[in-house]
Symmetry: C2
Subunit: 337 residues, 2 copies
């Protein structure tokens, strides 16, 4: 097999908080041939996720930090070019831990699942059928326990997960209200993502009052991707026996030392809340079922998915910071050129 | 029926935070005869509970504030002297909302349950068979979901609820460690309440380090009656998928404005915690079953109950503050003289 030139985006400096372009380097080197039991994948789309901030940092986290000098950890979807593993054949499309690079030589355990053949575009495997759609589906239904007629509040409602939560809430017969950072995103979320009302938190002088105005009857479920002042205000609008789903903590760029906020324990007690953390990697066994159900909803036109695809690996280094600035519309990813 | 002199402890001033003796007045007046459908109860024991702080205050709470000029809201156990309600007869012993007073004229809905006839002393209906024992039982088993071999941390471990949680944890095959405010209480809790180890938080220079030393493998369940800095440290020792039971918030005397603390949302997320609030009054339907099970354990000598009984109604006004100073050993109550 002829040697191919690989392009990789490597983590070369340890960020404190949000990783910026200067923490990465674009490197070109030949691809090694796959060894015994290995596969060679050509990536088509690379995922940009809020969780990458945590992976790049070196603070107590739910997965080990990315070693310096290696390609940034990332989900990707690609095609198998060569296989020395019996369970994969060239031409198969797969989704998994293939990193920020054009080519990936790895073992089969990096593959999370084969791509479900459908009329959906390949990029859908990083959005509605990827971690975002599956996170929304499993967290909302698993921890949220939604019942028809319940009231749902969602932070980063126009974001990669929130855009699905609003739609799933509507499908479940709930009334969903979202929080977002611009009037454009608010309009988009109302038009496309199932939200009955939206709050632009950057324009709200009093966040608590803005939420109470949009949710006059309080909330049964708060699906939170941010934490911080939005969560402080939101949990103070919860109805009795409300469920708070902590799915991300994007509001704080650094957790060492722990930022301060108003204590929640009295709210948890008096409102009898159930506040749970959700991390998708605990739920790999439920993955295929969720993806199949989401594909069905997407193909039936019941759930839409918006993607912002940046053309070329050179956009990867600044993409996480872009995500945290809230500049993306829908799921942010990189098309490998 | 001859008129009886009633002695009442009335709330006469609205506290901000912990109610002290000066917020109450001891008043004597004749008891009215029970009207149609009413019962007359002679109280034997009156309960002193941390929740009375909230009932006396006028801040958003899980029950309406006690009106000024009325007997302090309290659980009590007593005997029916006269009944104009068909379901009760004189001589029956009952447990319910009879207030800080010797005699109570009320309607049957103030009765929570009849006293279970047993060899246990009547006061046990305010401790192991009262709100404390039942709270420990239902919160620990209902929200804690304990499994044999799991590690349990309990705040106010020598207190009215914590003294049962340690014993129930031990019966469930768990390893329990408790937090308390003195060496005496620590010794008592180790000797009598099922705790394998105890932490005197007043002597711990670094609370997190003290908990990690006593719980080197972390904790699966944190049963919290305090909130505040103890909870901050405790949740940072939780194992993956740990359960935090918020059963009280005694560490903070006032919640307006909300006191500040280190934000918990990152811990909830990365440790996949489930943090739930428990209030016993949501669980009246499970009450009889829990009391029967606890009576069985108490009669079999598998669970002990310590009570501190103050002799005479005149001790009631200062008793809530005494509880918050942590001076009691076991369940604090008043014997009506």
């Amino acid at each position: 097999m002829a040697l191919r030139e690989n392009r990789q985006v490597r983590l070369v400096a340890r960020p404190h908080g949000i990783p910026h372009a200067e923490h990465f380097a674009l490197v070109t080197e030949p691809v090694a041939a796959p060894g015994e039991g290995e596969i060679l994948i050509e990536n088509r789309y690379l995922s940009i996720d809020p969780a990458q901030r945590g992976w790049a940092n070196d603070e107590g986290n739910y997965s080990a930090p990315v070693p310096l000098g290696t390609p940034m950890r990332a989900l990707a979807v690609g095609e198998i070019l060569a296989s020395n593993a019996p369970e994969f054949r060239p031409g198969e499309q797969v989704f998994g831990w293939f990193g920020w690079q054009r080519y990936c030589v790895t073992t089969p355990d990096a593959v999370l699942r084969r791509v479900i053949p459908s009329r959906l575009p390949l990029s859908a495997n990083l959005s509605v059928l990827g971690m975002n759609g599956i996170t929304a589906y499993l967290a909302f239904h698993g921890l949220g326990d939604p019942k028809p007629g319940e009231h749902v509040l969602v932070s980063t409602a126009a974001g990669s997960v929130g855009s699905f939560v609003g739609q799933l809430a509507k499908i479940a017969g709930c009334r969903a209200v979202g929080l977002t950072s611009s009037a454009d995103k608010a309009a988009l979320a109302k038009a496309r993502y199932g939200y009955q009302d939206m709050i632009n938190y950057r324009e709200a002088a009093d966040l608590g009052a803005a939420i109470r105005a949009a949710c006059p009857d309080g909330n049964d479920i708060f699906f939170d991707n941010t934490g911080g002042p939005i969560a402080d205000a939101a949990i103070r609008t919860m109805r009795l026996r409300g469920r708070v789903i902590q799915c991300g903590t994007a509001a704080n760029a650094s957790w060492t030392p722990a930022p301060q906020g108003p204590r929640p324990e009295r709210e948890i007690l008096t409102r009898r809340l159930r506040w749970s953390g959700f991390i998708i990697f605990d739920h790999l066994a439920e993955f295929e079922t969720a993806a199949a159900r989401l594909a069905e909803l997407a193909l039936a036109g019941k759930i839409v998915h918006d993607e912002e695809i940046l053309p070329g690996l050179e956009h990867a280094p600044g993409a996480i910071a872009r995500l945290y600035r809230g500049e993306n519309h829908g799921k942010l990813m990189i098309a490998v050129d």
